[in-house]
Every structure is written in C-alpha cells, then in structure tokens.
C-alpha cells in the first residue's frame, strides 16, 4: 500500500471513531469540514484540473440547499428523498449557466460566473413567497434518526466520502485526462478531436452538481438557509480552500478545508467581526508574498506551474 493510501486509511479510521472521543461541538466542526471539503473538491475539478476559475460557485451550492430545503418544507418530502434533488437542481443550473460561461475564458469566465451567482442571489432574495427572501427558511432539520450531531456527522461523512470517490474516479478517468489536456492547451486538445466547449460544459455540470450536494448537506446541518448562501463572498470559500490546500492535487482542497475551518473557528470565536478581514488579508498576503501559495512553502517550484501531484 502506498504511503498516501496508508495515510488515507488512518484518517478514515480516525474520522470513523471520532464520535467516541470528541464532544458534539467538534463533531459539528468536522461535519462542516467535510461539507466544505466536498464543495472545494468539486470546485477544484474545474480550477485545478480544468483550468477554469469560477467566481460564482456559490450559486450551485445555494441552488442545492434551497432545492432540498424547499422540498422538505413546502412539499413535505422526507429529507432522504429530497436531498438527491440538491445535486440535480444544481446540475440543471450549472448546465443553464454553463452554456454561456464556457464560451469565455479566464477573466471573462470568472466575471460572468460571478454575475450569474449574483442573479441567483437576487432571485432567491426577491422571491419571498417561495424562498422566504431575506428571512430565509428556518427549521430545516433532518429526520429524528439523523438529528444528533453524531448521527448527522456519520451521514455526512458517508455521503462526502462516496462523493469524493466518485470525483476521484472522474479525475483519473479518460474524461479527467481530456479535461487536463484542455487546461494545458485548448488548441492542441481541439486538434486531437476534443470539442473543448462541450467537455468544459460537462465538467462544469459535474462540478456544479457536487457543489449542490454540499449545499444540500449544509442546509440540514445548519437547520436554516439564507440567500447569502449564494452571495459572492460564499463563492470565495472554495477558491481559498483549494488554494490553501493545493489546487494541483486531488486531496489538496480537503486538506485546505481542515486548515480553513480550524482557522475560522479560532478567529471567529474571539473576534467574529474580523473573520472576513482576516480571510481577505491572508489571501492578499499569500498572493503577494508567496507566489507558490502555502503548499509551495514545502516545495520550491512555482506553485501555479507545478506538475500535478497525484497522477
């Protein structure tokens, strides 16, 4: 067994045994870490593997959260049946928006994705009769069996683990190779027969779907959902997490999720107001002072041009 596989097993065992050792608060923190890790990994399928940096992924997170929550609250559907709607609705949203977004590259891609996310935010905000608008939707809870921190923790862990397995398969599949080739050299990819836009759209939809699943999981974890799940500052989260942990490796975003959430917990409990300031400052510092990002501190090569770690 390779050393990284061994590390994963150790981690998996530790996570599985956590409820026996940790108080509920830390289980909740781990649950959040898992959700953010999924969100960031889905996001990184586009960024690290596909070379497409989206500034509007909160849209799909929010679409997933609202889809699942609305089904439970307005249609009375049990959570386990409503949750699959999260990735589905998010995928539809990603398809609709993606058709336009993948026509562009780099800066315009980022900008248009940001604008679409703000559209989603505004629609959620203004459609008060459906979404509750600014007041949000409250009392969005899982069924009694999953309600305790430990139970929901296991549920989330299992869902996220399965999702990561699926995403990992995608990244190692022929599709993943093709996606990387498009990232490296779209012109060349075209001339080995790849329809670049179509492939990018596919990646966009897959990424959006899993982001939506993360949103759905978060809705029932949090117990309430609000329009600012779609606000652009939420879009910033998977980006920072992925950069923090390393965008060029598959598990980088998960590592980043640990670091990010623990930092957030430490800072927010003391000075809640200062968290965005801290976050923004870290990002600015990392970009200015550490061209290689945090991960580059260990390596030595330019982070953005590093050879992928896991293939």
């Amino acid at each position: 067994m390779t050393s990284s596989a061994r590390a994963l097993v150790v981690l998996a065992v530790a996570l599985a045994l956590a409820p026996l050792a940790l108080p509920p608060f830390f289980l909740q923190l781990l649950t959040e870490i898992a959700i953010v890790g999924l969100f960031a990994t889905a996001f990184n399928l586009l960024m690290g593997f596909g070379g497409m940096v989206s500034f509007g992924h909160a849209a799909y997170f929010a679409l997933g959260a609202y889809a699942a929550a609305l089904l439970v609250k307005r249609a009375g559907i049990p959570m386990l049946l409503a949750l699959p709607a999260a990735p589905l609705v998010a995928a539809v949203g990603a398809l609709l928006f993606g058709v336009f977004i993948v026509r562009l590259t780099h800066t315009y891609f980022a900008m248009l994705s940001l604008a679409f996310a703000q559209i989603v935010f505004t629609i959620i905000f203004k459609w008060k009769s459906l979404t509750g608008g600014d007041d949000g939707l409250l009392d969005v809870w899982p069924p009694a069996a999953l309600k305790s921190p430990a139970a929901y923790y296991y549920f989330t862990l299992a869902t996220v683990a399965l999702s990561l397995v699926a995403l990992h398969a995608v990244s190692e599949s022929p599709f993943g190779y093709a996606l990387k080739s498009v990232r490296e050299n779209p012109r060349r990819a075209r001339f080995i027969g790849i329809n670049v836009r179509r492939l990018q759209l596919c990646a966009f939809v897959i990424s959006g779907a899993f982001s939506g699943l993360a949103g759905g999981l978060f809705a029932f974890y949090n117990g309430s959902i609000f329009p600012d799940f779609a606000y652009f500052t939420k879009s910033f989260e998977p980006l920072v997490v992925a950069l923090l942990g390393g965008a060029q490796s598959f598990f980088g975003p998960v590592a980043g999720a640990f670091a990010f959430k623990i930092l957030e917990w430490l800072i927010s409990r003391q000075w809640p107001v200062y968290w965005p300031l801290f976050l923004g400052t870290i990002v600015v510092l990392v970009i200015v002072a550490l061209p290689q990002g945090f991960v580059g501190l260990a390596g030595g090569r330019t982070w953005w041009t590093r050879v992928t770690g896991k293939t």
Partner: protein, 257 residues
C-alpha cells in the same frame, strides 16, 4: 470546375481559397491538389501566406471564400475537432503539446480522444492505450522519455512528441507547419526522414511548410510554391527547382537557411 469524380482521388483539394486580414489579402485564390501518398512541401518567402493557408485548412481560421475538400467530401468551415475526426492531423509552428502531462500521457490522451472515450468518467485511464502509446513513442524515438513531463523535454523531442500526438489520431492527412523550426540541420533531416518513413509505411499523405530548401528537396515528392497569397507554381521538385519564376522570387533569400 473540377469534376466531382476526380475529387475522390485527391486527399486534399482547395478551390479559390481566399482570406483577408485587415486589408491585406493573405491568401488569394489558392487552388491546391494533393494526391494520396504525396509528400507535399509548401514553400514561399515570408509573408507568402503559408501559415494562413494552413490555418484555413485546419479550421483555425474562417475563410472568406473558396472551398476545401478532404478525401472527396467538402469540409469548408468545419471546426478543428471535426476535421481531426475526419482524419486530419496537424502540428503547429510553435510546438503545441500538453506541457504538464508526461509524454506518455500526451499520447494516451490523443488515443483516448481518437477512440471517443473522452467522456468516460468511470474507468481509470492510467492503463488505457498505454501499450499503443509506448509503441508510438518508440516509433518517433521517444521511448526513453515516456514518463518525463513533456514540458521539460528538449525542443527536438517536443517536436517528435507533437508528431506522435498527431499520429495517434490515425490521420489520413498530416499537416506539419514548419516541422523543423528551431532545429539543428542534422536533426531536421532526421525528423523529416522519420516523417517520410512513417508516411511510406502507412500510406499517409503529408503536407508541410518549410524554409530549409535542403530538407525540402531531400524529402518532398511534390512542391507548391506560394507567392503573395497565390500559387506561383506546383510540381515535382526538379520542375520547381528549374522554374525561372521561382528562382526570381527566391533571389535575395539567404542561401540554405
């Protein structure tokens, strides 16, 4: 008008191809006919329109007017990925590979796409077409470098890799845009000899642009001379060499670049 039945015999044919570039007529009514198995060199002084013509052929540029036929079927205006599927392969003037992937992965990806497996999201790709990729890399002399990140390879090896990538698509026509650019003279002959060998073995038709006349006359079976966006003359190497118009057009060119 060329009779459609004649067209069938030609791998590549263009009729009246025209392209403006902001006021400049870069390609001015080019009629090209390339029979199967040909090793056609397209030569001409700088600015003659060689690269523009190439980009028109490969769908990277939209033509203003004219038509392109590939193996008898009209392909004018098709996108590069569609043309590739029809059987056209190309290399670029500036080496165009997937730099952060290994040489092996470069060729594997080309195979995966060729076999239309690039939407497969479930199978691990690491082993797919690996033997085929190794074989192809060996063919172009890159067997040793298979596992190295292709961006780290020396220039000449990157060129060979690009050739392998293009060949992975089992093309009927290979378009090479200045394949020997940036190479030392001996390497130039080596790579073109390799191209000629592969073409001979597989019946592949090759069209390439080239500045180095030694290479052209060593390898080409047919030569098309472009001048100011139009075909000046076309024919066998000897015929072209002896053509007074050609000599005049090349007068003042530095000898043997």
């Amino acid at each position: 008008m060329v009779d459609p039945s004649d067209r069938q015999d030609l791998v590549l044919q263009t009729i009246g191809l025209r392209k403006h570039f902001g006021g400049v007529l870069a390609v001015n009514g080019v009629n090209l006919s390339v029979p199967p198995g040909d090793l056609r060199a397209i030569i001409g002084p700088n600015g003659a329109g060689k690269t523009t013509l190439f980009n028109l052929l490969t769908g990277d540029l939209a033509r203003d007017s004219g038509r392109i036929y590939f193996a008898g079927a009209e392909v004018s205006g098709l996108s590069p990925d569609r043309l590739c599927r029809q059987g056209m392969g190309r290399t670029f003037q500036i080496t165009s590979i997937f730099r952060r992937l290994t040489a092996l992965e470069n060729v594997q990806t080309a195979f995966l796409s060729h076999h239309r497996r690039h939407y497969d999201i479930l199978t691990p790709a690491r082993r797919l077409y690996r033997d085929d990729a190794f074989a192809l890399l060996e063919r172009v002399g890159l067997h040793e470098q298979a596992r190295k990140p292709s961006g780290n390879l020396p220039h000449g090896d990157q060129r060979r890799l690009e050739l392998a990538i293009a060949l992975a698509g089992c093309p009927r026509l290979l378009l090479l845009d200045e394949p020997t650019a940036g190479m030392a003279p001996r390497e130039r002959h080596e790579i073109m000899a390799l191209v000629a060998r592969i073409a001979g073995d597989t019946g592949l038709t090759v069209v390439f642009t080239e500045h180095d006349m030694d290479v052209v006359f060593a390898v080409a079976r047919g030569i098309t001379v472009l001048h100011q966006g139009a075909v000046l003359t076309e024919g066998s190497p000897d015929a072209v060499r002896g053509n007074p118009d050609v000599q005049r057009v090349y007068l003042g060119q530095p000898a043997g670049r």
